[in-house]
Each structure stands twice: as C-alpha cells, then as structure tokens.
Symmetry: D2
Subunit: 328 residues, 4 copies
C-alpha cells in the first residue's frame, strides 16, 4: 500500500522534498534519491532508512522500487527526466518550470497526450496553500462580486550572487503567473515590465514591476523584489466589486519590547510555504493512488512558461508583449 | 489676538471647516460664512455665536472683521476668490484644487509672486496627517535607504450619482499626486491610465489604475476606486531599499463576534482625516500669525493640477503622457 | 464669547493643559497660570500671548479675568483650590484625584451640593477617548449581551525613582476604577491585591494585580505594571455573553525591516491620550457655556478615591476588602 | 520500518487521530482501530486500507501487528488500557487526562517506573504548537527577563448540552495547567476559582476564572469560557520583566467588506491545533523508534490531574486550594 518514491536532485529543494516524503506524509516511502554529486545523494540516503543513492536520474526512474518520481534537479534537465517517466509509465511531480522554454513544455505535453494518461503534475505548490485556497473559494462563491484587480508582491530577503534579472521572472514571477490564472480562472493575455528606481547600483534590475493583463479584464500589478532585505514576504490583495481579500500568512507570536509590537518574517520560502509543499505532496500521492489529480498539469506548466517568455521579451524591449492563446 | 476667519461655501466641506474653526482650534473665531444659498449660510451662522452670514464671497473677503479666508466653494470659483484675497492682502486657505486648470493656477501663482508675499495655502490636508508625516520622516532619516516604489489605493465606499470618470482624477487622485511629490521630494514626470475590468456596467470607469513616474525613478501604482463598497480606505505602502512602511490609520476597537475578529472602516473622509483637517487649520493659523508656512503653496497647487491634466489626457488617449517641468 | 481660563500648576501636566487650552480648543483663552515656582509659571506665560503668571493659586482663582479654573497642582492641594472655586462660583476641572482621601472628596462634594450648582468636573479623561466611548456604546446597545468580565492592563514604560507601590494605585489604578464604573454603569464592591513575582529586586511591588468585583457580578482583573519597559500601553478587553471587544489605540505606521513587521508604542500617556485630553477640555468648555456636563463629577471623584483606599488596604493586609456603598 | 499503530476509540477525537496517522505522518501505518460500537470502528477501518476493526481495546493492544497504541477512549477507561500497554511492553500515547483521578495517575506512573522503561506519553499537544514552542524559547533565552504574569483565556464557541461546570476544568483547564508548567518550568502551588457574572441563566458556571499560583511566584489568570459564542479562541499573554509575548494563531485571509476588515476564527480545536496534533504524532513516532521522548510524560499527566482536583475543590468551596508538591 505504501508507494515507493524516488527524488531526482539532492540540492536544497530536493533534500527538502525527500525529508517531507520520508517524515511528513502518509503512505509513502522514500526509496531512492539521485544526484550527479554522489556525496549529496548519500547524505540524504544515509539519513533515511531504506533510501538508496543514485548518480543517474534515468537509472532511478528505471528502478522497479521507484513507483513515482519527484523531480527537483536543474531546470534544463526537467524535459529529459519527465519524458523518461512518461516512457516508464510512472507518475511524476516536476518542480517548476516544467521546462525552461515553451517548446520544451509543448514537447512534454504532447508526449503525455500521446500516451493518453495524465501522469504529470507541476510543482506550483501555492495552489495548496490554505490562504490561496480560501481566497479562490471566496471568488468562486461570488459573495464579493467579480474580480477587478490584483495587487501582488513577491519579496525575498536576499538573492544569491548569481541571480540575474531574468531569474526574477523565471524563478519568482512564474509562481505569480500560475496563481493569477488559478485564482481567476482566466488566461494572461499581455505583460509589461515597468521601469523603476533600483536598489544599490542597479546591476540587478530589482525591484521589477510587471503589469499583467488577464483575458477577463482583470489587471494585476506584480512587484518582484529579490533583495527586499527585511524577510520573505508574499502579498496578494484581490480587489472585487464589493470588497477585497488580503492573503493571510502564518502569524507568529507578537513580541512587545523596546518600544514596539512586532511579528517576525520567515527568512525564506520554507517558513511560509512549508505546509503548502507538504499538502501538495499529500495530494499528489492521492492522485498516484488513483484519485482525481488536484495540482497544476502540463498545460499549466506550458502556460506559465509562455507568460515568462513574454515577460522576458518585455524586459528586453521595454514594451507590452501580448500572449497568443492556443485556443481555437 | 484671536483671528477672525471667514469661510466661503457652506456645503458639506465648508460646514465642516466652519465648525472646526469655531470649536477645535485655538486663537480663531468664525466671524463670517458665505453661500449663494442663503439658508445654508444661515444654518451655520445660527449655530455659531458671532458668525455673520453672507451670500457673496467677495463681500465676505472685503469685510474688515474677516482677517483670513478659507475657500470651500465649487472648484470653478476658486481663482476669483483667491485673487480677491490677494487683492485684499488677506491670507487664504483654498480647498484643492487651487484651480481646475493649470492656466488658472498659474494666474494665481503669478499674482501672488507679483505681490511679493506668500498668502496662499492649498488644502492638501494629508500633509498634516500624523501617519504621512511619520512616513516622510522615515524616508528623510534615510534608515530604510532610498525610496523605490509606492503602492497606493484610494477607495471611497460609494460615489455620488453625478460622479464622472474624470472626477476620480480631479477629486481623488490629486491628493495622491500631491502626497507622492511631498513624500519623495521629487516631481512627477509621466502618468499612464491603465485599462482594467470595471465594476457594474462600467459606465463609470471604476476602479481606475494610474502609473505615476517620478523624476528620481520612483514608480507608483495608484488605484482609485470610487465605489469600493466596503468603506473609506486610503492605503499607501512605501517600498525602500531596506524595508517598507504601510500607512497606519486610526484603529478602532477590535470586535470579536459571530466567527470573526473585525475592525470597522469610516464611511467617509471625516473618519479618516478629521484630525488632519484640524491640524492643517491649526498650522495655517500659525502662519497667519507670522510663523513659517507649513502646508502646500500655490506652486504645489499648480503641480497637482498639471499632473491631473496629464492623467485626464491619458484617460482619453490610453497612452502614457509626459509632464514637462518648468524648471530651466 | 471666549472664556478666560486659569491653570493652577505648571508642571508637566499643567503645562500640557495650558498649551491645549491655548492652541487646540476653540472659544477659550489662557489668561493665567500659577505655580509656587514662579519661573515655571513664567515659562508658560511667556510662550502664550495674553497669559499672566501667578505664584498663588488662590489669587488666580480670585482674578476677574479667570472665568473657569483647571487644577493640575499636587494632589494634596486639590481640596483647597476646589473649595475656593466653589466659593468664587467658578467652574473647575480638577485633575484626578479630586482629593487624596475620601473624607476630602466628601467635603468638596457636600460643599458643591450646598451651593446647589454643579461646578466640578474631575479629570478622568478616558471617558472622552473615542475607543472607550465606542466600547461603552457597544455595551449599551446590548448587541453582545451583558458584560461578564473585563481584562485590563495599565503599563508604563518606566516609573520615576520616587514611585511607591501605593502610587500604582493612586496614580494609575484610579483611572481603571473610574472607567470600570463608567463602562459598566455598576459600582465596585470589593477589591483584592494579589501576590505575584516582581520585577528586579521587588522594592517596588511591580507588577501589581488587582481583582475588582462589581455590584452586577462583573469581575475585572487589572494589571498595573509601572516598569513594563517596552512602552506605554493601556489594554482592556470587555467580555460579554456573545462576543468581546478589545480597546483600540492610535495605529502608527507599520514598519517592515530587519526581519519584523512592527508598530511603535508611545513612550507615555501623551501619545495615547492626547486626543482624550483635548476632547475633555472641549466638552468641559461646552459645559462652562451652559451645556449639559459630560465628564466625571464630584461623586465620581469620591467613588474612585474610596476604591483606591480599599485597594491600599488590601495591599497592606493581603486580603479582599469590601467597599460599602452609600446608597440607602 | 513502518510502525503499526492501533487507535482505541473511534469517536471524534479517535477518528481524527486515525486519519492523521494514516495520511499526515510518515513511517506509520494504521493497522487497527477499536470501539465498543463496532459500526464506528468499521467506518474508519473501511476508509483506510490495511486497518482492521476491533470492539475490544485490550484485544487491539494484544494484537501482534499493533506496535504502538494511541488511546482516545472515554477518560475512565484510560488507566486500564495504559496498564495493558505497559504489560505488553508497547509505547502508548494517551489522550489527556492520563486518568481522571490523581490516584489513577499515580498507579500508572508507578507501574511504568516498576517496568523501568518510559513507554507513556500524554496527549498535551499544545507543547508541539509552534506558537507555544516559540513563546517558551523566548523565555528560555532570557531576552525578556524572567516571567512575572500570564494572562490566559480558553474559549469555545459552544459547549455541548451535557457539559458541567466541572468539565470546564477537567476538559479545558487541564491544557492550561500543563502549558503553564511547561512554559515556566515551575510547579503550580495553589489555585482559586473566582466568582463572576454568568452567561444566560448561569446553570453552567460560565465563564469561570481561575487564579493559578506558581512556585516561582508567577501568577496566572485563566478565563475558561465554554460558550463564548464567537468562535474557538485560545489566548495567552506572557508578561516578563522587559516585554510581553502574545500567542499567535494561524492567520486566515483578511476580508474587507460591509464596513469592516475581518479575520475568521475556527469553530473548534481542529482549526487551531490540527498542526500541533500532527506534530505531536510525528514526535511520538520518533520516540517509538528510539529517539529521546519530547512530549508530556506520566508525571506531567499526574501533575495536571492534581491541579484539576484542587481547582474542583476550589470551585466547590469558593476558597484558595493549595497543592502539595511530592518533592522531598
């Protein structure tokens, strides 16, 4: 009854997923982890009884003990691993992006369609965050009327040294693109990267503000601030005809001292979305066992990557870039 | 020692100012109020001992008992009354806008310069709101680094039936324009009105989103929502290099009942900015007595009207409109 | 029309009152200030045009220009000055306590009754704080059912060196006693001082917790913490049958920086109750002009002092002390 | 590697534990559930593959597939089942109370001591709630100085019809007693039940206020309000020498509508402590596997029951009741 899970990638994200599989979800067993850097794979496998280390992700996928695969390896390796999972007929939860290019996403999507079976889930974990779930249900119930605007901010305390302006879009903004589509049930039809003052010497274009236009007329302004200094903070206000909703966050204790009353921010995504990652895994396991899939699918992965490509083009050109929809 | 004040206009705003002069500031006496509708003027004068009613604002200005004038009459009458005050050598606090057109503002500004004496204050009362004052001082102290972005929203519960899309700009957005200039110490160089979904049948373009570009690179997104339904709510987040500041508001009691924990919003600006109006009057009286003027002057009035004209042009054309600065 | 006000006492509290009279209320003029330390009286009178300095409060009361008197001198002088005001037939706003002993309060109360005219208001300014006013109106409207419990805390950042345990009661707790009576419309019938751990070496019994029993069965726990270190903070939660109400406070800006999201506390009562003091003066001036008095009267002053005496007795004995009501 | 868990009791609490074991923790399998009402046991076992139903808890304990036992049956059955677990040498997580009487607790404690092996954990799940954990760590780090006071409230939306005043203590207050001991590291030495106004006709003595005195001088006031109407709300403020800490709670979205800004309360403990129950189980499983036990042990279970007995005695007598410590 317990499902054997293999994790590809033993970096920060892969290690986190591996530990969540092993300790914080039911009905699963971590049986394998792979990383080209064998020591990283061994560090995890040594920690978790019954988990074997691999250096080759394709071998992990082929291993009979691995019943379903979680991909947390570098972005450019995603397509190859996902296709191998499809070839092996195994369920796969692939970290975003499904592929760095829309061509890659399309290849994967077509392969899954040819197979005639849904096996791919994309790791847009915010769809499992209780606050986003509640925000979407308010909208669906219609009690505030239709959606008009969304104000979003995605703030990291600090970006790593290798961070590029493009990565604000491919790493951070894609989460916003997916959640905007998911919350409103509408497609993104245009995106514009705006000029603003920059932090420090401005080598990194930070913060970056995007205007996102949805097919149903909803407009979203999205701030992406990778060096916001004060902490990890994800903010969304949904403005409807009869009221607005602010995204909640886990509320730590309130400390009164030294003249102020303060709550702390988490230093990174783990303190904010740890629960969403856990619930995403739980839901994915349920779908592996045959329940209706709940998360983002390959077409959602494609949609997010296409908007990201448009945002990168706008960043380059300084102009509004439209996104053609595939629908006939 | 007590200064005799005359108020022109006995509508909602004028009546409020009259009562504040009479009861909530020191060293002033309401001696006159005028309104073409004599019954409105009499309603106020009957309420306040020592206050005489007028139907003609120019007569009020000329009256010797009136030492300083507060103008709260319809916008198109402002220029004439302000010029009359200058002619009489009397201090004047003029409700915004100083004039509906930049040409009108310029006429007034030049008349004051020709006089060689600063007599005009424009009623941008937010400059006296303790929350904005604190936000500005944070920026001035530099402890959060330089300003990068501002996120603003101006929400009214409901707009009157005669409200037009243009009035979102001339009545509401002008406060945002002035406060953005005052907070950052920088000029607005361009404004863009954006398309978004509209409430109801969309006869009124509501909400309206403006992008405001400042000379120092700061970018502000400004939501103007005249029928936001839930209450009167003014929101500003200042995003700096090392932190952000959210505008506070008077915090009423927290009510826990029926499944929720709630605070109420005021139904209009009186519940939010009553104190700012009072403090503005107090500061204006001090300047009438000879202290350094603290509020917006005629050139600030001109600047706000010029940005409003650009915003109206953008609303019409759908394009970004630049604002030429007068500076050499 | 303008009322001439004399202030007795030019310490921190008297100086604050004098400036509020001069600048922040309408229809009044500060005409006199007295202090045995002439330099203190002159410091204020030099600041405010038309204000004359006195060294003797009785002379100030007798001065014809003084139409109404505000007493902010040391507690033990209150009775003498209040009686002199009654003798002169002048309205008096006396800082709490009306008298340090219930005998003193009773003497004053009887003198006023003999006069047959209400001239005394006691400075329990919280009755004018908008948050307390709203809390009381919730209770009166009955929408939450009847009151059951109150949880109160009175915290000062630091107590002056001369502070004694008794002063926690006579200076701080009296405000709580008055507001409990005023909120609930019920009398206090018993009070118990409880033992708890103490800050520092415990020379000052701080914090002190009092249990207060009301005639209608309502129970209040009151924390008095004179060296709470983090700021000035007054907290009240009213627990009713169907919900609770937390006292709001002016909400300064929210600062996000260095890992936290914080609001500041005022360092003393001026940042919290400045508005209540202003509104109290405004209401008192209205009653001087003949309107229905709105604040605490001499019998309220007596009631608070009687409860304070009981609390001091309980502090001494460690036992519950009952308070006999005068009512037949 | 997976541990086979048996749950005794298939009521609300037992069913919740069973589902958490099956779905939300790693390395465990729900293999058995028992309830005298066979249909309740079958309802759960039918839902979870591999889980067998029992009607007799002792049979469940004896079953070889059951490696560790979770007791969620009626209070009076706890002692028998715990002793059977000890007899079988199996780890047991027993819902509070360990036993309804201190004699029962002592019997169990002595049996465990005789065995020479720690096998018992008591279900005081708050010790795993992240907010309490953080509050305790603040105290341990000493950055706010020593603890002085605690203000606690335990509010349920509604109590079931069969609820008695005693149950406010045995069901609700015991959690407070345990957490006070755990937070401060000090023992409770006396408790006093106070009189207050009551909701409705007062048949149930509700709310109930307890004064709790700790060995180190800390004083806690504890409100127990079983019909607080507005929602499930657990509040704790820890007052230290240099600051205070308010217990956080999961912060749902903020809804602005109809004149207010509101957050909702959960309707019962599941919305507040669901995560604590999950983390408690996870930690218990780790201790079953041999790690250092983290939760409350049998002596903690005894301590809570002894304080509850004292509180019941005080409820009866109206007097302060001391609790003798066992320590030599």
């Amino acid at each position: 009854m317990t499902i054997g899970i293999g994790v590809i990638g033993a970096g920060v994200m892969g290690a986190d997923h591996a530990r969540t599989v092993a300790r914080h979800v039911g009905g699963a067993e971590l049986v394998a982890i792979s990383d080209p850097d064998e020591s990283r794979a061994r560090a995890i496998s040594g920690e978790i009884a019954g988990c074997r280390p691999f250096t080759d992700g394709l071998e992990l996928i082929a291993d009979p003990a691995v019943e379903a695969v979680l991909i947390a390896s570098p972005d450019h390796t995603h397509v190859g691993f996902v296709l191998a999972c499809l070839g092996a007929g195994k369920h796969v939860l692939c970290e975003k992006p499904l592929a760095p290019t829309s061509a890659g996403c399309r290849e994967v999507l077509e392969a899954e369609r040819a197979l005639g079976r849904r096996l791919i889930q994309v790791g847009f974990m915010r769809r499992f965050d209780p606050a986003y779930v509640e925000m979407r249900s308010v909208l669906k119930r219609g009690e505030l009327g239709k959606a008009l605007l969304l104000h979003c901010a995605h703030r990291n305390a600090t970006a790593p040294g290798f961070f590029t302006p493009e990565m604000s879009i491919t790493n951070a903004a894609v989460h916003e693109f997916d959640i905007l589509r998911w919350l409103t049930g509408s497609e993104i039809i245009a995106v514009t990267a705006l000029n603003s003052a920059r932090k420090g010497d401005g080598g990194l274009r930070d913060p970056l503000v995007l205007l996102v236009e949805m097919e149903d007329g909803v407009l979203a302004d999205v701030e992406l601030f990778m060096n916001a200094a004060y902490g990890y903070d994800i903010r969304t206000e949904l403005v409807c005809e009869n009221g607005t909703v602010d995204l909640g966050r886990p509320a730590p204790n309130l400390h009164r001292r030294a003249g102020t009353e303060a709550r702390s921010f988490p230093s990174d995504w783990r303190g904010r979305f740890g629960d969403a990652y856990r619930l995403q895994l739980q839901a994915w396991l349920a779908s592996v066992r045959g329940q209706e899939p709940a998360g983002a699918d390959a077409s959602d992965g494609l949609a997010a990557t296409r908007v990201a490509e448009a945002a990168l083009a706008s960043l380059e050109s300084g102009r509004r870039v439209e996104i053609a929809t595939d629908r006939p």
